[in-house]
Symmetry: C2
Subunit: 351 residues, 2 copies
């Protein structure tokens, strides 16, 4: 389909900033492609009112109520990635209208016989963003020494790594650097138009998949590779490590959400202090490649401007690193940190 | 098939101790099930002469030359897990004889149309040891506090972790402890008769798969969970971490092969010193659960008795931990280390 994408994003009650992160990020970075948000309980509101992004984009109760659209995006990212049961009818209705249905869930649309039959009947397309056929281990061959690799990491999953990666890459571009955002998750893939959902790759091949993303993008001066999960998350730490070791970053941006004390989805598991987070990521990254944390990205979505400003000041003081909330303050401080690392890097490469 | 397994193990020139580790371990721990080794270039020798294990088990040039057998095992574990091209004819011949063909490779037999058609034609069975349908994240629920969890880790892959795990579990059993070996790789699965090849699991679900192995085996007093890969291996570090964090061991046994200086399969990547290995595994394990290294397993396969004894003495002196080569010395020192940890553990659980 080469027609411009005109998306309806299905959230249907899952509107908190963590569960609806796919919806929120696509609306934030691809607003021109979003014609409506589908939430049966909030119809009549605007996207801005419901999700805090998307301004006047309407919230509708059904596909029948939306402006002309050709794509339905399932806009949530629940742990484990299962398709919510009540959504099946909506997916079938979209397919009945010939719409492309796009999903980032682990449960593949294309593995569901009712969906594939409906798609075939109506000439509709099913897109599973997490599907991949990665089957090669990392090789450590052909890595371009002149490309600076930046990677976002965090104390937890769903902390804002993707947003920080996009903002820093865009900020670098605005400052004249040939930079690219490299997507490693389903939301990033919609935003970037390419990438690999590494959490769905067979574990033996995740570092290889990360390496191939580097190889495919290293013609840029700087790449900002989106991190996944967290080395401190009982469920996803291995995904995070494979990606970190496959990417071999020169610089890390440490992300966290203010006020979060326990692991997302696991309230019995406390999160470590940021100092420990930084130290452990640096130790771990340096197993494969010299690397240091160059900045801190504070996600202050639940706090006031003053509270976030105070938090950033505390972090800068404690860690002697630039700290900002990219949504509130813009990414400039982190962009400057990358430019500084580029300068050191160039001097080392071309002394 | 409930008939006793009578296996021919295909190695066909891949006889070095690393590449043939599946063959060697199955012969070592299931010798009563192995009727022949198939190696076209070494027919007429014994398994003992060719592989250093298996005594008088004959090495044959073709399936026509073997004693009566009902199973063909593909006995190698190459990086990436592809089926060697010259083996296709042998697999087809085995299927033609109605034999079960067992493979631990990433390339599944059952995904190969020529193999599935031949199997169907002759009523033969294809077994892919790495196949799994793991699709649940770790939950941290239902973990039995009274089961002591031991885990083998290493500075590199193919270092002897499976052998150490089996030997220590068997040694514990002989000393009267209700212990079980828990298999996490294709070879271990043949030896144990159950398990999960975690390197083939979708990365998001590896910690969950490890947790389910714990849940399935924690009725024992002690479980020895086989480690995979290495936190220092650019290709597999994430598999290792997911398994470590999903297992939540109380005690680790640090394994390494004497004389190895670079990562297996990646000659440009140096291996770290054992002190760094121990420190990093302990730090990493303790993110999830209190844990310490309780012993060192030296794989001295390429060295003399005297050299291995001297190495073990050096390690014991440097790290104040028991050290032995389980093949050469037996696992007693490591068994004692586990029993000591059991005692501390019981005192803590029932003071």
């Amino acid at each position: 389909m080469n027609a411009p994408r005109r998306m309806v994003i299905l959230v249907d009650g899952h509107t908190d900033t963590l569960t609806a992160k796919t919806a929120i990020c696509v609306i934030r970075y691809r607003p021109e492609e979003v014609v409506a948000v589908l939430d049966r309980g909030a119809a009549g509101k605007t996207s801005g009112e419901l999700l805090g992004v998307g301004g006047a984009i309407p919230v509708v109760a059904s596909l029948a109520d939306t402006p002309p659209a050709n794509t339905l995006l399932l806009g949530i990212a629940p742990p484990g990635g299962k398709i919510p049961v009540p959504w099946r009818q909506i997916v079938l209705e979209a397919l009945g209208r010939g719409m492309t249905v796009v999903s980032g869930l682990h449960d593949f649309l294309a593995d569901d016989r009712e969906f594939t039959q409906a798609a075939a009947r109506h000439g509709a397309v099913l897109v599973d963003l997490r599907r991949n056929d990665e089957c090669e281990v990392a090789q450590r061959r052909g890595i371009r020494a002149e490309c600076l690799r930046i990677h976002t990491v965090a104390n937890d999953c769903s902390s804002g790594k993707m947003v920080v990666s996009v903002e820093v890459a865009q900020g670098l571009q605005k400052s004249g650097v040939d930079a690219a955002f490299v997507a490693t998750g389903q939301t990033g893939i919609i935003v970037a138009g390419s990438g690999c959902a590494v959490d769905r790759v067979i574990s033996d091949f995740v570092a290889g998949a990360a390496e191939r993303l580097v190889l495919a993008n290293q013609h840029h001066e700087v790449i900002v590779v989106e991190g996944q999960g967290s080395l401190f998350h009982p469920r996803y730490s291995g995904v995070t490590l494979s990606l970190l070791h496959g990417t071999m970053p020169h610089g890390l941006i440490a992300c966290y959400e203010m006020g979060r004390r326990v692991v997302f989805g696991m309230p019995d598991v406390p999160l470590p202090a940021l100092g420990k987070v930084i130290e452990y990521y640096e130790t771990t990254a340096n197993i494969m490649h010299p690397c240091r944390v160059i900045g801190i990205a504070v996600n202050g979505v639940k706090f006031s401007d003053a509270e976030v400003a105070a938090e950033c000041a505390r972090m800068e003081d404690e860690f002697k690193l630039p700290a900002c909330d990219v949504i509130r303050h813009g990414p400039q401080k982190l962009v400057e940190a990358v430019r500084k690392l580029m300068k050191d890097f160039r001097q080392k490469n071309c002394p």
